[in-house]
């Protein structure tokens, strides 16, 4: 809210600190001053009044009270005038207030916190003033209003704005003659009721908006903006000057639903003290003469059914409690002085203060609140740093993080760069990555997305990673001109999906190699699993039933499910050419997507080793011609079975398909390493073993050992 330095000065006895100094003091003891601007002889502050102080500090007197407490200055409140009703000729106004619907009272919010105020209108106060003159306001009023950005309209409207900015109580003036039947009925709107406000906007109201209705029509969007039909005009002679206290929840909900707000609505939404209403009218009455409004008070309306529940609060404050929270010793006397400067009444007791809080301080409800008042006025900067006294217990280790860091380091070691992408995907991605309606239905959708580009939560890290490749490939071409161009990136993060009617969240790992093959990314996967001590991984050919990954993403012939103990833990392969084409990616992309939670559960720090043999090993090579579809694993299994314990390792060193080979055939070449822990194997022994293996391989009529 904007505050005028000169206006604030009106309520302070003695001189305010210079504007810069004042801003600094407010920053350190109350609120952040977000802006400061010289305007003629005045300085205008933009002060971010904290939400818990909106009850009392969205006003110049409220802010002046803060300043007085901080600067140890005296407050001087503006003069008010005792309201005297005079006999007039106007028909008395009838005001009726409907009870709140259960929906409003059950909505929580400040009303339910601040005991005893479930009513639509905790207080409705108004003056009926007969015989007013509508004219221009005196210059000082115009100056103050304009200083804080409010246009001067006429003396009656200016009065309402002035009082609001001075006291924090919104006022509204109705043209008495426009109130049909001289009745006002305050109620909740039915959905879709129409109302035109003073600023010529026509609203279709949500259910529960507070409205005032006369005998025929809606005349006011209560607490937010006056209705056009009952507005003050140059011909107005009699007015109803309203100082109401409206239900904060109802106002908050309505302004949020209408996406429309006013200063009054903001004040009401934060809830204000109903006791302010009559004070504000007394102040307004005092100003009527000064603003040339004149007239006499024909009627006072004051409906305040539960006034008893808005009485002062008493809090017993334990001095030990204050010191132990703040961590500094503080005398009872000093605490008393500070609280009194904030308008509390304080009685001393043994090690305690009996504190009576002013009703406008709706935020003061418990000891902690008073500790905050004392702490900030004393100044938090006076509190020295002191380490806590706590048991020296080592923190329990988060093993998940340890593994995660191990995985990240492994990727870094392999030359991968870590990226962080947004958690969202959207329309463009659905077409690029060929999402079907069924695919989309599994995604988690955002109710209020920033744009259609970010309308859903990602269910895989790969889409955004592939887009990273697209964005970086040109750069990669330039940077890597001395070598084969490549991009290696990885990301860890959460993905989201609807699962059995619930939202499921997965911690995933995604990695890509641009200009990388199936076997290269598989090598990466092997390396990572190895680093985690997972030795039992199995790669299964892609099946249409894979739950974890969308088929359209993958090259059908070059992708595999990664399984450990029968459970799918991820997927790897090359990205489909349709995706590459859609993104204009010119080289094959190897991709890996792993479920980190499952991976980490399987990870093991146990390392089992086999002592290296003291005796030399012998190597024999074998080349086998097999049908193209034959799996290397099948051939290896056959060889391992036949070789027995003296075969230490079988290693595929070449796989060839193409020229010089029959159609539909591929050549596999292996090193077989023979070794014993007890002795040197003779070449005869090795030959015998090797022949056993050859025989076993040749048992399959489709496999031919090349000699």
């Amino acid at each position: 809210m904007l505050f005028s330095y000169n206006w604030l000065q009106e309520y302070i006895k003695g001189k305010l600190p210079a504007p810069v100094k004042l801003a600094e003091l407010l920053n350190m003891h109350a609120f952040e001053v977000e802006g400061m601007q010289k305007k003629g002889r005045d300085t205008i502050f933009d002060i971010a009044v904290l939400p818990n102080r909106a009850h009392d500090c969205l006003s110049h007197t409220g802010m002046a009270r803060e300043i007085a407490a901080i600067c140890k200055l005296k407050l001087q409140l503006p003069k008010t005038k005792q309201i005297k009703v005079q006999k007039g000729r106007l028909t008395p106004l009838k005001v009726k207030i409907q009870p709140a619907s259960p929906k409003t009272t059950s909505q929580g919010g400040p009303a339910s916190q601040q005991g005893g105020s479930g009513e639509l209108v905790p207080r409705y106060s108004a003056l009926v003033i007969e015989g007013v003159s509508i004219k221009k306001s005196p210059k000082w009023v115009v100056d103050y209003l304009e200083a804080v950005g409010v246009n001067s309209i006429n003396n009656v409207v200016d009065l309402t704005n002035f009082i609001m900015l001075e006291t924090g109580q919104p006022l509204h003036a109705f043209d008495y003659e426009q109130i049909e039947g001289r009745t006002m009925n305050v109620r909740e709107a039915k959905e879709g009721e129409k109302l035109e406000t003073l600023d010529n906007q026509v609203f279709s109201l949500p259910e529960g908006a507070l409205v005032i209705e006369d005998a025929k029509r809606l005349i006011d969007l209560a607490g937010i903006k006056g209705g056009k039909v009952s507005a003050i005009s140059l011909n107005t002679q009699n007015i109803v000057l309203q100082a109401a206290n409206f239900n904060a929840v109802a106002i908050y909900r309505t302004k949020s639903q209408l996406k429309y707000t006013t200063q009054a609505a903001d004040m009401y939404a934060h809830q204000i003290d109903p006791n302010l209403a009559m004070e504000a009218l007394e102040r307004a009455y005092a100003l009527c003469a000064e603003l040339g409004i004149g007239g006499k008070i024909a009627q006072v309306v004051d409906l305040y059914p539960k006034s008893a529940s808005w009485r002062i609060k008493r809090i017993t404050l334990d001095m030990q409690f204050v010191s132990s929270i703040l961590g500094i010793p503080l005398s009872q006397k000093e605490a008393k002085r500070i609280l009194e400067s904030l308008d509390c009444q304080v009685a001393l007791a043994k090690n305690r203060l009996q504190v009576t809080c002013p009703t406008r301080r709706l935020d003061l409800t418990m000891q902690e609140d008073l500790v905050e008042e004392i702490g900030r006025i004393v100044g938090y900067e006076t509190i020295p740093a002191a380490f806590p006294i706590a048991p020296i217990a080592p923190p329990s280790k988060n093993t998940e993080l340890l593994w995660l860091s191990k995985i990240r380091n492994a990727f870094k070691g392999l030359g991968f760069t870590e990226v962080y992408n947004h958690s969202f995907i959207g329309d463009k991605d659905f077409s690029t990555f060929a999402y079907s309606a069924a695919d989309k239905a599994k995604l988690v959708e955002v109710e209020n997305p920033l744009s259609s580009e970010f309308s859903h939560l990602r269910d895989s890290l790969l889409e955004n990673l592939v887009k990273n490749v697209r964005d970086n490939q040109k750069q990669a071409r330039l940077a890597e001109s001395r070598q084969a161009e490549t991009i290696r990136i990885f990301e860890t993060g959460n993905t989201f999906r609807q699962h059995k009617g619930k939202f499921a969240e997965f911690n995933m790992l995604g990695a890509l190699i641009y200009n990388g093959s199936f076997y290269e990314i598989k090598g990466v996967c092997d390396f990572i699993l190895n680093s985690l001590g997972i030795s039992s991984a199995w790669y299964d050919e892609y099946q249409a039933t894979s739950e974890e990954s969308r088929a359209e993403m993958w090259h059908k012939g070059k992708s595999a499910e990664i399984k450990v103990d029968g459970e799918e833990i991820g997927f790897l392969g090359e990205i489909s050419s349709r995706v590459n084409t859609a993104l204009k990616i010119s080289k094959p992309v190897g991709a890996l997507h792993l479920n980190l939670e499952k991976l980490i559960l399987l990870a093991s720090e146990e390392i089992s080793y086999r002592a290296p043999s003291r005796f030399p090993a012998s190597t024999r090579d074998i080349a086998i011609l097999v049908p193209s579809q034959t799996k290397v694993a099948e051939v290896m299994n056959a060889m391992t079975g036949a070789g027995g314990a003296l075969v230490r390792d079988i290693d595929l060193f070449d796989m060839y398909e193409g020229e010089h080979l029959a159609q539909g055939k591929k050549n596999l070449a292996f090193h077989i390493i023979y070794e014993s822990a007890e002795r040197t194997l003779t070449s005869k022994e090795v030959d015998t073993l090797h022949n056993q293996i050859i025989k076993a391989v040749e048992e399959n009529p489709e496999w031919e050992v090349r000699k």
Partner: protein, 332 residues
């Protein structure tokens, strides 16, 4: 006589050898399995005893001499070869200004670097790292943190809601729900930090993103004060930035803390920089997790990790962190 001639020719061969291969050939010619001297030694068996005595001594002496000379000459040649290689090496020069062979190098994201560093520092001060989900319920994100529905305080967090909205699911707007989840499962006293991704419905610019990172902290004990909070946080910043820092607290408001502050930091006498929000845990938060407020006290804080990383590495624009731009990322 044969021996004498053999001696001369062998010694000459040794001297003549210019490299190890030649030397090895000569060695084989005299002392190998079928070498001349070896054959003579073997033939001694056929002689009578007197001849054997005389010739045997001569032959064995010669063998010892030759073995010695071969070994000496081998060392000489090796030494000569080193000298020759060194001479050659001078001619065989490289361009020392040409770049070295480029090896693949990986890079860790600056946010990971910042988060890891923060975790390490807090762990040394006894804080355990806790985590929670990114999709949260209204209860954990708001109600349990003393932020009631239809209260203007909720406007402090611009929220992404998930469809259908009446289910009350949202993307967490802060890491504070992790406090609640952790306290529900653990008894005090406790010290935790919770780093993680959070979401705000906000247009992006150089200092705003709609998903970013926060690091939450919570310490609960019997005696925990504002002074304690100051000490822990000052120590954290000192270690994180590796230089002495000053911090100051300013009044603020968060529904889940009372009193609440903003924390500013500065180096030397530089400008104060806004770092985070913090405060003493509100009794209603303890109530929400079933603690007895009168028995426990705590401080809580939440700082932006992006901001920490940006300050540490002097990154001017938060959007770079989420751009996937390798020209940026490969500098870390």
């Amino acid at each position: 006589m044969v021996i004498f001639a053999l001696k001369n020719s062998a010694l000459e061969a040794i001297e003549r050898a210019q490299n190890l291969a030649e030397l090895e050939t000569s060695y084989k010619a005299y002392l190998g399995k079928k070498g001349e001297l070896t054959l003579i030694l073997r033939s001694l068996a056929n002689l009578n005893e007197a001849e054997r005595k005389v010739q045997g001594k001569e032959a064995n002496d010669l063998r010892n001499l030759l073995e010695k000379r071969f070994a000496e000459r081998k060392k000489e040649i090796q030494r000569e070869e080193i000298v020759i290689q060194e001479k050659l090496a001078i001619r065989e020069h490289v361009d020392v200004t040409a770049p070295g062979k480029r090896l693949p190098k990986g890079h860790t994201h600056p946010l990971t670097l910042a988060q890891t560093k923060a975790e390490e520092i807090f762990q040394t001060m006894g804080f355990t790292v806790a985590q929670g989900p990114e999709i949260e319920t209204e209860w954990y994100n708001f109600d349990a943190l003393n932020i009631p529905a239809n209260h203007p305080a909720r406007d402090m967090w611009d929220t992404f809601w998930l469809k259908p909205k009446n289910a009350g699911h949202l993307l967490r707007t802060h890491t504070s729900p992790v406090q609640i989840r952790y306290m529900e499962k653990h008894n005090p006293p406790l010290r935790i930090i919770a780093p993680g991704r959070i979401f705000r419905y906000e247009a992006t610019d150089a200092s705003h993103e709609f998903n970013f990172y926060q690091l939450e902290g919570l310490m609960v004990g019997k005696e925990v004060s504002v002074a304690n909070f100051k000490a822990i946080i000052e120590e954290f910043y000192r270690q994180f930035f590796g230089k002495p820092v000053a911090i100051r607290l300013r009044p603020s408001y968060f529904p889940f803390t009372e009193p609440s502050f903003e924390v500013d930091m500065r180096w030397n006498k530089g400008a104060w920089l806004e770092m985070m929000g913090a405060g003493i845990v509100h009794p209603n938060v303890f109530r929400a997790v079933g603690y007895i407020p009168a028995e426990w006290r705590g401080f809580a804080f939440g700082m932006g990790l992006d901001r920490l990383a940006m300050m540490k590495y002097q990154i001017p624009d938060i959007r770079l962190l989420y751009s996937g731009d390798l020209r940026f990322l490969q500098q870390f």
